[in-house]
Symmetry: C2
Subunit: 450 residues, 2 copies
């Protein structure tokens, strides 16, 4: 293994150059641009590490799979994605989002933390074995999809046709890294997601705003509808929204009890003096791990330029995302949302489109979790901070019956995934490669039931 | 006068060419671009009709004045503006907003109805007298400002220094034209205006929307604040908002009783089946002429592009305009708005900037009103539809103690002022020039107290 580690350190520059290559491809799923280009880039680089590669067509973006059959007993899986979030607002980036730049030991670029940096680090960990003629004691599978950032709408098509491919002894999910205290974290679950676009159109054209005295207002209709969904204390008011909500299990509570959310540091990070509604302590933890949300991700109507325009806008739009926790289902919540809007008289507020999936968790006591922790110990010298779930989402529900998944990665608390100036610490990237290499090395001898 | 009218008809093409010239200058006050260029264009064209022209500097955009002293008893004033509304959204224009185009007898371009078409038509009416060596029996004053579309913030500076210039026997305000029934309309008053930009910033950067479970939401704070300002029935909930509201006078009620608002045609025009809150009949008229408003002119936060972005936006913004009726004052309403926000816990919602002015009306029984009607009769063959006030706003309050103002113009009900595809009917423009010429001709002999 020393050879492998030395190789990774000696070729850090080259692997970063390769990462920069894929960061330059602006594969923003929301815009559907440059998707094939990014998929093909990964296909090419999986082939370069001798994998059997397939580009699976779906009704959406293609799914790239790679399989390295070493005739081993154990199989390790990686789940990654080649798509990224939109980079807007561009003017808040210190360097252009699709022109990777290194400053103060960090590599900046849209998607570097979420999740191109992880994907490339995993490919290089495997390459290091091969280029140093070191045996890889496990079979390895990659699933790299292109719609993670838009709710993985067509991944179920792939899974339906290729459910056998999902079988593995353990898997590493796409993201993770160092927490705000600098310690490595692992995420065992992902919240579910319901993403909807609400639209209101009340006039066939914008009107002079003098006519607001007699004409209906699309933006006000939307504001009232949004206001009816959640009160100022954060309570979601959709009838039945919390009906299926389950509490955390005793085992989960034990895991959470050990967690320090570093409240002061986290507040500083976001520039706030307290969390929403004054959440703290156990209440904060409960919200972090088990609260569903109703979030306005986007809002738009009328004149948003400088100065004034006196217009009564014909239309208004809101993008909402709901994070769902165990036992909640996006279809059910969407139906309840529609029923709520109708019951409150907002039949003019349409759900223009929607996406989503249910939540899922890998059990905290699954042996693969402690195995990943052991690998982490060898590289970082400390135990992983284990989170029973991430507050974010992902299509883990498609995998959970086939393979235990643990999410670790090369990011850190200042990585600003989904925000301007997304970045990773290059040192985390380097050690992240080490950790994957060690994990591969250890997994050949791992006894799941030991 | 026949010579004058023939001249106007014979030179229609040339006057439209001149109008197109100024339409090509995108003098959008909200952006503060091309303002000097537009002011100088008008200065040059007022000089061309032998006026004594001054470009008055203010702390904002310059005010252009022209004075034609014919040694007459009577003085006629024109109030116009060289600024226009923003043209966005550009993609809803059938031809580019700043490239004037003629289709089906209409001239299209931003500002053609509001109010460059009016201004140019007035200049040409005067030019027609001069080029046909016809005596102009009145003195004429022009005041052309550059900030009408942004609440005329520095016009008071001009008025304070030049109050003598505001004296005249009668004045023609900037806009007007044919109503939905094809009959010419006159507007005697303008509502007041309070325009505010509300801003909320709750995080120092956008966050991954998974964190909505523990972080505050700027867009939701804004939505709740906006929702607290007005209920779904349109009732404005700001404490004391309606305190100073006066009813219409008996004289005004008599004028209004004769008005037909052509409810069905107006609904068709905007693509609605009924007015807001089912307003109809007298209630509709009351709202049109005497209701203050609280309108969302713009709303923005987070991701507004295609598809989904799962972001918790750091900031949110709303642009609100309040139309104020007789006896209401923008400063008072702004203070009440601030107090309302504070009292409802929205101290985090800031009023980033504000503009505005009070309402004003020319009395319906002022003799200049019937004089303008007589001139209209001669050209259009019907009586003006007299509106006691427009639902829109303008700085009439600065003029009302100096000169009775009546607003007539070359627009029509489909002119789409402030909206995409702004246009005028060329036939209205032609007859509008005739009407101004006839009015100038008649005014020499007008006896205000006759």
């Amino acid at each position: 293994m020393e050879k492998v580690i030395s190789y990774l350190d000696g070729n850090l520059e080259q692997s970063l150059d390769e990462l920069k290559e894929i960061l330059r491809i602006p594969s923003v799923a929301a815009k559907g641009e440059h998707m094939d280009e990014a998929a093909e880039w990964f296909a090419k680089h999986l082939e370069a590490i001798k994998m059997e590669v397939t580009l699976h067509k779906t009704s959406g973006q293609p799914v790239v799979t790679g399989y390295l059959d070493n005739g081993a007993d154990k199989t390790l899986m990686f789940y990654d994605h080649y798509d990224v979030q939109p980079a807007e607002p561009f003017d808040l980036w210190d360097s252009p989002p699709f022109e990777p730049a290194i400053r103060d030991g960090r590599l900046y670029g849209r998607g570097v933390a979420d999740n191109k940096g992880d994907a490339v680090s995993r490919i290089w960990a495997i390459k290091a074995f091969q280029d140093t003629s070191t045996d890889i004691p496990v079979n390895i599978k990659f699933i790299i999809e292109g719609e993670e950032e838009v709710g993985s709408p067509t991944l179920p098509e792939f899974v339906k046709k290729n459910s056998d491919f999902l079988k593995a002894d353990g898997g590493i999910w796409e993201f993770g890294g160092a927490g705000i205290d600098g310690r490595q974290e692992a995420w065992l679950g992902l919240k579910g997601l319901l993403y909807v676009q609400l639209e209101v159109e009340r006039l066939q054209m914008d009107a002079h705003s003098g006519y607001a005295c007699i004409l209906p207002s699309a933006p006000y209709r939307l504001v009232w509808a949004l206001s009816s969904l959640k009160d100022v204390n954060g309570r979601i008011l959709i009838d039945g929204f919390y009906d299926d909500l389950k509490g955390l299990t005793e085992t989960e509570k034990d895991v959470i009890a050990k967690i320090d959310l570093h409240e002061d540091m986290t507040c500083d990070h976001y520039g706030i003096t307290q969390f929403v509604n004054g959440l703290a302590g156990d209440g904060l933890k409960e919200a972090f791990y088990n609260a569903p949300t109703c979030n306005i991700a986007g809002l738009g109507s009328g004149w948003q330029g400088t100065g004034s325009k006196t217009v009564l806008p014909a239309k208004a739009m809101a993008k909402l995302d709901f994070r769902l926790v165990e036992n909640m289902h996006p279809e059910d919540i969407r139906e309840k949302l529609r029923a709520h809007l109708d019951r409150h008289g907002f039949t003019d507020v349409t759900i223009a489109w929607h996406d989503g999936y249910p939540p899922a968790k890998t059990p905290t006591d699954h042996p693969f979790v402690s195995f990943v922790n052991d690998a982490n110990q060898k590289v970082f010298g400390h135990n992983l901070t284990i989170h029973v779930t991430s507050p974010g989402s992902g299509p883990l529900y498609l995998f959970k019956d086939h393979v235990p998944m643990v999410s670790i990665g090369v990011g850190d608390y200042d990585s600003r995934a989904h925000s301007p100036n997304e970045s990773i610490l290059i040192e985390n990237y380097r050690l992240g490669m080490h950790r994957i290499a060690v994990l591969i090395d250890m997994m050949g001898a791992w006894q799941a039931d030991a």
